[in-house]
């Protein structure tokens, strides 16, 4: 039975903005030399091993900003088409919590490093997949600022057992954190997820974060409400719900979809509208697949922001900004359109190649290796894509790794692709050879030599082919007669017989042509 009042609602427009935290993978932390656990080299370090006086907030310790982290943040800002503050500063955000060693977090309050950006989301179909036929949407970026992450509290012992008390691990404390804040421009969970994926991809291609979801390298906090158009023509807005700390696309989508359904019903029940003090904070319950109310503080947060007197202003001069801009790699969206334009790939193929930066680098290296082998341009792009997405992706999926870690090198793949292009490998043999070149014992071997040794190369010896064909025709006179009398499709059986004799040394197409030449007049 519908809730009383829900029938008053004529239509619902979902309104979503997002705050996204990205842990930057600089080698050291934001304000000291302690190793950064968001860098793969220090991932999984024992608790409280990545700490120093600054991280722990010991008396007398002083912060010194990490220049590399500032550069990483500027890169993301540029990729999001933001303006970059030429002079910015650090502010202290004060609150007490056991995972916050100094009693304040160093952040940026009124002068964010990056501000006023935008990105264009492609149009999406009903399943949330890119659809060029549909209109896209421009998403405004309010700001992207740098801050330091807090530590972690463990309420269970690391093994999983019950704990009398709480343990604090400060390894994560001080990790450089980029907070990206969007305008409330999303109108569906699909759009929010598409943006989240896009930002993750940008950060990974820029090399500024590993963005491993399970490790919390990227965390989403959607702000969700809805504009309800009522039957009487009035439009009311539901109170904003902020869902904290989502670290998967699935939970991001789930939280938004849940709220999208829930908020009109909530409004029908309590008639509460957006306004001062109505914003609430919720968490996501993965098991129940619903948002749940979080404990709210009785009084409004007052973080007492003020400029950090330990840290001078950050000045980003023309030369520094130019050098960062010059160092920007090609971004995923640009690459995607280039693959479509120059190599004739489908958008889907291009997107698949861009899913993992490592795979993409492998793909582009293969193309480069093909040039000296005489295959270039669109042909190289197409050929390499076929191998990476078929022979490569299949094996990678089986092993749960990226193509680039299968063992085969781009130069070996280029060699295989070139052999195939020359018609010296059947598609089946090429795939088999791909597999061989992934074996550790074959590392560094010449692909052509290996193919020859394994009998995979198509024999150019026309005499052998002629002989095999003649033998098969002689052994199958009835079928041969059928072909000669016009039942051309019957040739398939003969082709199969020849292939059995030839093994990998022939390809079906050549055999078929040879047989037809012999059996059909003219």
């Amino acid at each position: 039975m519908p809730l009383p009042g829900i029938e008053d609602i004529k239509s619902v427009e979902l309104i979503v903005g997002m705050e996204i935290h990205v842990e930057l993978a600089a080698r050291s932390k934001m304000f000291c030399r302690s190793p950064n656990p968001a860098h793969l080299a220090f991932d999984g370090a024992p608790p409280n091993s990545l700490v120093d006086p600054v991280v722990l907030g010991l008396p007398g310790a002083l912060p010194v900003p990490n220049r590399a982290a500032v550069e990483s943040a500027v890169k993301v800002g540029l990729a999001l088409n933001c303006s970059i503050a030429r002079r910015t500063k650090w502010d202290r955000k004060s609150y007490f919590y056991p995972d916050l060693p100094k009693g304040y977090q160093i952040s940026q309050y009124d002068i964010p490093l990056c501000f006023d950006g935008s990105v264009d989301l492609p149009g999406l179909d009903d399943r949330g997949q890119p659809d060029p036929e549909r209109p896209g949407r421009r998403i405004g970026i309010v700001r992207a600022h740098l801050e330091e992450d807090a530590g972690k509290l463990l309420h269970e012992s690391p093994g999983g057992g019950a704990l009398d008390g709480t343990l604090a691990d400060f390894n994560r404390a001080g990790t450089p954190l980029l907070e990206v804040v969007t305008q409330p421009d999303f109108r569906s969970a699909d759009e929010a997820v598409a943006f989240a994926r896009m930002l993750r991809s940008i950060c990974r291609f820029l090399g500024v974060s590993e963005c491993v979801m399970q490790k919390g390298h990227i965390r989403f906090e959607p702000n969700i409400n809805a504009a309800l158009t009522l039957r009487d023509g009035r439009v009311v807005r539901t109170p904003i719900v902020e869902v904290k700390n989502l670290n998967s696309f699935k939970s991001l989508r789930g939280a938004i979809e849940f709220e999208a359904a829930e908020q009109p019903a909530r409004w029908a029940h309590d008639r509460r509208e957006m306004g001062r003090g109505t914003k609430t904070t919720r968490g996501w319950d993965d098991r129940l697949e619903r948002t749940v109310a979080q404990r709210e503080k009785e009084d409004a947060d007052d973080y007492r922001y003020f400029p950090d007197p330990d840290l001078p202003a950050v000045v980003i001069d023309d030369a520094w900004l130019a050098s960062i801009r010059d160092g920007l790699p090609e971004l995923p969206a640009q690459r995607e359109s280039r693959y479509v334009r120059e190599y004739g790939l489908s958008k889907k193929e291009a997107a698949a190649l861009l899913d993992e930066p490592g795979t993409c680098r492998f793909y582009e290296s293969t193309i480069e290796e093909l040039v000296p082998l005489g295959v270039a341009g669109a042909r190289a792009g197409r050929l390499a894509a076929n191998f990476v997405l078929q022979s490569g992706q299949r094996r990678a999926n089986e092993r749960g790794v990226g193509v680039e870690t299968l063992g085969i090198t781009p130069s070996a793949l280029a060699r295989i692709a070139a052999l195939r292009e020359e018609g010296r490998l059947s598609s089946q043999s090429a795939d088999e050879l791909f597999g061989f070149m992934c074996e550790p014992e074959n590392l560094g071997m010449d692909a052509a030599a290996l193919a020859a040794a394994r009998g995979l190369l198509i024999v150019r010896d026309d005499a052998a082919l002629e002989r095999w064909c003649d033998e098969v025709i002689a052994a199958n006179p009835k079928v041969a007669m059928d072909v000669t009398s016009g039942k051309v499709q019957a040739v398939g059986r003969l082709v199969g017989e020849v292939m059995k004799m030839a093994g990998a040394a022939a390809d079906a197409k050549t055999v078929r042509e040879a047989l037809l030449r012999k059996l059909t007049p003219g």
């Binding site: 010991l58 310790a61 002083l62 604090a168 003020f306």
Partner: protein
């Protein structure tokens, strides 16, 4: 007891006419004796100091060149981190805290051959101007044991005045080096903000704090500054500017010295003994051929208010880390107690009343709805004040002179019921911190108006990074006045 300066000790140790071990042994026994009876010394590093002294003597015998502070015993204010002993900030909160590292200033002193013999008492977390706010009891003034030595670097000033050490480190946020130096009749230097690294100085108000030396002579102050000054990559606010060696040309007179005197320096705030000592000091300068000019620095009137807002705001944030969870005093936890309650009780138990007062004041002035009225306005005053100082220096003043304090040392307990009256004692010292300028206090007279002989201080302020010139002007004054041989008439028995 012979009172050798740091210069002389370093020269004698270098020449071998005295051993560092003998110097340190004497300083340690004096620290344990007079130092304890003045409550100026919280801890002595007996073994560490003697070991270092013997190593230094052995190195000299091997022919190694001793450093410029070879064998000089030094006391370090206990809010400056030392990897030896404890760093308590004279607070119950850090009563048992040991630092894993040395402050840069300490490391530089030791690298120059100085030997840290222990830690000196202070007002808790450097908050106070009397030395009374130590969790470990008030420091006493060696000139009159019933009087305060000033603060917050109370132990450092009292120890230098009592001849325990020729050099001590203090920290100065609003006068905490200069005011006790004035009350104890010694020299106290607050260097330009950014000249001496703050790394390892437990922060009170980061934008105002500077480590500075307390010595008996201007020469020793210059020697100390030469050693501790200079860029430190570990302190983002430390300056990369080249700074001249303050010992170079120290005895050269400043030509056509112009001394500016703000009208407030001769105002009604001064008690009679301070007014007359200041007039005498200006006459001494005039006698040296200096031109004395009157200055109008209107923002000085708002300096105290601005100072207590800015310093308390920063303090409330800087001291937030003392929650008793990772280190420091933690209240005995009660079953089922929330973390908020545990932190709150730990801070209430661990931090003294003056510290709590400043934290509350600072929290208030940064709170939503109040920050604009208080904190933002205080920053405006700070800017105006800096501009007025700049203009005064641009008009030709080499230094600006004021009394260091509006009167001589007051009796212990005199301001117990009126913290505001105590705050007003800082009126001459806080402007230099707000503007980041170098300032020095040097003895300029002894008053007997209150029955006992009590020293008074003259403050000189110079443009930023003109520390060497400030010391030259101070040296001129010192050489023309007999006060550099001041010693407390009553040095209590050990």
């Amino acid at each position: 007891m012979e009172r050798r300066g740091a210069h002389q000790i370093a020269a004698d140790v270098a020449s071998g006419s005295i051993s560092a071990a003998a110097v340190i042994d004497e300083a340690l026994s004096s620290a344990r004796g007079i130092g304890r009876s003045l409550n100026a010394v919280l801890e002595t590093f007996d073994d560490h100091a003697m070991e270092r002294a013997r190593a230094l003597d052995a190195a000299r015998e091997r022919g190694e060149t001793p450093g410029p502070l070879a064998g000089v015993p030094v006391l370090v204010k206990d809010n400056i981190c030392t990897s030896v002993g404890r760093t308590t900030c004279a607070s119950r909160m850090l009563e048992h805290y040991t630092s894993p590292f040395d402050a840069t200033a300490v490391a530089r002193l030791e690298a120059a051959g100085a030997i840290v013999i222990g830690k000196s008492n202070l007002d808790e977390f450097a908050m106070g101007g009397s030395g009374e706010h130590s969790a470990f009891g008030p420091t006493k003034n060696p000139w009159d044991l019933s009087r305060v030595p000033g603060g917050s670097s109370s132990g450092s000033a009292a120890a230098v005045a009592a001849g325990i050490v020729p050099m001590a480190l203090g920290s100065d946020t609003g006068g905490s080096v200069r005011q006790p130096a004035a009350f104890c009749g010694v020299v106290g230097l607050k260097p330009t903000y950014g000249l001496v690294s703050r790394l390892g100085l437990v922060a009170f108000a980061s934008s105002l704090d500077q480590i500075g030396p307390i010595t008996r002579t201007v020469r020793d102050a210059a020697l100390a500054l030469r050693v501790i000054a200079g860029h430190d990559p570990g302190d983002a606010t430390s300056s990369r500017r080249h700074h001249p060696d303050p010992l170079e040309g120290l005895d050269h007179r400043v030509h056509h010295l112009t001394v500016g005197v703000p009208r407030q320096a001769r105002g009604e705030a001064n008690r009679p003994e301070a007014a007359s000592a200041f007039d005498d000091a200006l006459r001494t300068f005039a006698g040296l051929g200096a031109r004395i000019v009157d200055l109008d620095l209107p923002s000085l009137d708002a300096a105290i208010a601005a100072y207590y807002i800015v310093s308390s705001a920063e303090a409330s944030s800087n001291l937030a880390r003392f929650d008793g969870l990772r280190y420091g005093r933690r209240a005995a936890s009660r079953p089922g107690e929330s973390v908020e309650s545990l932190v709150s009780r730990s801070r209430t138990e661990g931090l003294g009343p003056e510290v709590q007062r400043r934290i509350m004041l600072g929290t208030h002035v940064l709170s939503a709805g109040y920050a604009d009225a208080y904190y933002a306005n205080a920053l405006r005053v700070r800017r105006l004040l800096k501009n007025e100082f700049d203009a005064a220096f641009a008009s030709g003043c080499h230094v600006i002179a004021t009394p260091t304090t509006p009167g001589a040392a007051f009796r212990i307990g005199a301001h117990d019921r009126d913290p505001l009256a105590m705050y007003l004692e800082d009126l001459y010292t806080v402007p230099a911190n707000l503007a980041g300028l170098p300032a020095i206090s040097l003895p300029c007279g002894v008053s007997t108006a209150q029955g006992s002989a009590l020293p008074l201080g003259l403050q000189l302020i110079a443009p930023a990074f003109h520390d060497a010139e400030l010391l030259r002007a101070a040296r001129m004054f010192e050489s023309a006045s007999p006060h550099d041989v001041l010693r407390p008439p009553v040095v209590p028995a050990a």
